[in-house]
Amino acid sequence: MNLEFSAESLEIRDQGRRFLAGQTCLPKVRAALDGGGIDNAALWQGIVAQGWTGAAIPEEYGGHGIGYEALCVIAEELGRSLAPVPFASTAFLAAEALMLAGSEEQKEAWLPKLASGEATGTFALSEGPGAIAPGAVKARFADGRLSGTKWPVPDGDTADIAIVAARDADGRIVQVLVDLGAEGVTRGTLDTLDPSRPQARLDFDGAPAQVLQSNEDPWETVLSLLDRAAILTAFEEVGGAQACLDMATAYAKERMAFGRPIGSNQAIKHKLADVFVALELARSNAYMGALGLTSGERDLTLAAATARVSSIQAFTLAASENIQTHGGIGFTWEADPQLYYRRAGALALTNGTLGFWKDRLVTALERRDAA
């Protein structure tokens, strides 16, 4: 039995934590919230220098091939620090989509650039409000051209490429690769819950696009991509939830009321114990997800959905109760708890919601029992 990260991965995690602690991430997140844009050039260079962008990309495509354990611990640290970088869109979505279904040429053209941090990428699925479902995909692909509108697209304002879900001339789902710098692409930024993770509106009007070849049903490939991203997003949420619990616990020890620390009241203790329980459930389920990713299992659905259900629950609970533990000060613009609350709220709607993953979890159980 070995449900623990390797010594190397734990070293990457600790090193990453120290690196991000020195990067003043929270002030950058706050600046974005105050409308000052995101000043992350140096942070991004540092992340690239740490080798994170190429961690899970094989060496033959210019990556470091360290593997998914490393990517999981990196995700946790990015979540803990709220680092405002286009890492998840690039590494969890664009690179994964290319590795799942890209042709040799497509992989050779883009994976080295994503690994080296020279380019960033994203995955465009949503077309406005609504659940993730094949019927919600309306963008059209015909004769090598893409038309339609995708929003919100994570980091779509800065990404160099996007993998876009669309329908071909016969109405079948396809995934296509689009160079976002090409003609026929218009980008617009959107005001969102969490401005430190920008979301864009992408309008395609006959933009040149290439199909991603997939051996399986392309919609299944989309779902496989979401499964893999779910495990990494779960680690991000676990990191965020841990930061909230740490912040709330520290405050509960310092803040005095009625002549004693508020953390000596069971009303606070039991609240934070419940957050701890939710967090440990989420962390443990995320570990099983990491095991699935690293062992190269094809069917990750049950582990991914289980991890994601728990991680959404843990981060939203931790972020809410962190504000509650802080009382009035926690509700102010200047205090930090809102930064986590915004991130938790936005992540809970990213790459599938709680409802989507609960349904997918039960689908996986039915599939397991039918087998």
Binding site: M1, S6, K269, A273, R283, V309, E366
Partner: protein, 410 residues
């Protein structure tokens, strides 16, 4: 990462499986678990026979020192045995407390001669032990207990009452925590003994639980005389001795009550609402996913703890969440199944009810899970104070002689 055993663990697991295959029936998923109404004479005989078999095959006292008939194994062997045994239907609920908590306390504090007398019969299931700690006025606040032991020459005279004593009605011996000095603060005036449950002055009255079962008892002591030689630890050091016992509790407890989440899934796949399996219904899926994610989390947290044990390390705080989560989950599992049965869910007669009434029985047994062995509130306090490092509750009885502490209702 992997979920594989090491070579030594795999060999041990194979031995355990071979033993269980030869002597026990495999559990069937989704089948109704036998209703647990308490242990009668026949069940006690079966449990004793099973314990004797385990002892003979070398699966009793796995972590005990070899000197006292144990296997000298580590916690990982015990975990492997427990995991495998859970896949079979075998008698449980008679020896866990004695072998997991009482006798380890004896091994830590009793004399060599006493251990030569008591360890063997306990291991072979010939003698049953119980733990006499809780009292009507001291449940969560264990150190507030009032059972008095007064010294009389080479003996102690004991008067008072214990309650919630699991298996006292089946027991031959027990370890007993008493107050020997009420003039000092409460934790400092306690002393531990072991006693003969058949001695004059011990009266056991089973408690009828709301579920209909009787696992617990009240135990009354009237001028019970205990030789000083049966004292465990120093006079006034009983709290420390009790902590030894309770530390062993964390490893001793761990069974997930049935029907569990897998029993629930099997039910939801089979039971139909208007011709469609219940599991296809959005409301059911939402609630099942919630329950499943928590079950899986507890299981994976246990895997993380086992990983630590397997490496010879102490498990982290994640090991403490299981009881808290499982206690709530049992009620939710029962409620979901019963709700789908509609008004028919009220019927608990095993002949008529689906799954032999096991979900109904579970609903009635579930409140006890949130109380027994430390209430959910005490468990939250422990997490908050020992894991998160939050300050202790303000204690008005701290440093006050026990006899001066205010008393309310029992």
């Amino acid at each position: 990462m992997d979920l594989e055993d090491t070579k030594a663990e795999a060999e041990y697991r194979a031995k355990v499986r071979a033993f269980l295959d030869a002597h026990a029936e495999k559990r069937v998923r989704g089948a109704a678990p036998a209703p647990s109404r308490g242990i009668d004479a026949e069940a006690l005989t079966r449990a004793k026979a099973w314990q004797a078999k385990k002892a003979e095959a070398g699966f009793a006292g796995i972590r005990w020192p070899e000197e006292w008939g144990g296997q000298g194994g580590g916690p990982i062997e015990e975990v492997i045995y427990t995991q495998e045994e859970a896949k079979y239907t075998v008698p449980r609920g008679v020896f866990e407390i004695g072998l997991g908590m009482c006798l380890p306390t004896m091994i830590a504090y009793a004399t060599k001669e006493q251990l030569e007398r008591y360890t063997g019969p306990a291991l072979r299931g010939e003698e049953v032990w119980c733990q006499l700690f809780s009292e009507p006025a001291s449940g969560s606040d264990l150190a507030g207990l009032r059972t008095r032991a007064v010294r009389d020459g080479d003996e102690w005279v004991i008067n008072g009452q214990k309650i919630w004593t699991s298996g006292a009605h089946l027991s031959d011996y027990g370890i007993l925590l008493t107050r020997t000095d009420p003039t000092v603060p409460k934790h400092k005036g306690l002393t531990m003994f072991f006693i003969d449950m058949h001695a004059p002055g011990v009266e056991v009255r089973p408690i009828h639980q709301m579920s209909g079962a009787s696992h617990f008892n009240e135990v009354f002591f009237t001028d019970l005389r205990v030789p000083d030689a049966h004292r465990l630890g120093a006079v006034g050091d009983g709290w420390r001795v009790a902590l030894t016992t309770l530390m062993n509790e964390r490893l001793a407890v761990g069974d997930e009550p049935r029907p569990d989440v897998e029993d629930l899934i099997a039910f939801l796949e089979e039971f139909e609402i208007d011709g469609v399996p219940a599991i296809r219904t959005p409301v059911v899926r939402d609630r099942l996913a919630d329950i499943y994610a928590r079950s899986a989390g507890v299981k994976s947290a246990r895997f993380r703890a086992i990983t630590a044990l397997s490496r010879g390390e102490t498990p982290g705080p994640e090991a403490s969440i299981g009881r808290l989560v499982n206690a709530m989950k049992q009620q939710e599992i029962a409620r979901l199944a019963l709700e789908l049965m509609g008004a028919g869910g009220m019927v608990s007669d095993p002949e008529t009810a689906l799954r032999a009434g096991s979900f109904q029985q579970s609903l009635l047994a579930a409140p006890g899970q949130r109380i027994a062995g430390g209430t959910s509130e005490i468990l939250r306090n422990i997490i908050a104070e020992r894991v998160l490092g939050l300050p202790g509750d303000p204690r008005v009885d701290k440093d006050v002689p026990f006899q001066d502490i205010g008393r309310g209702r029992s």
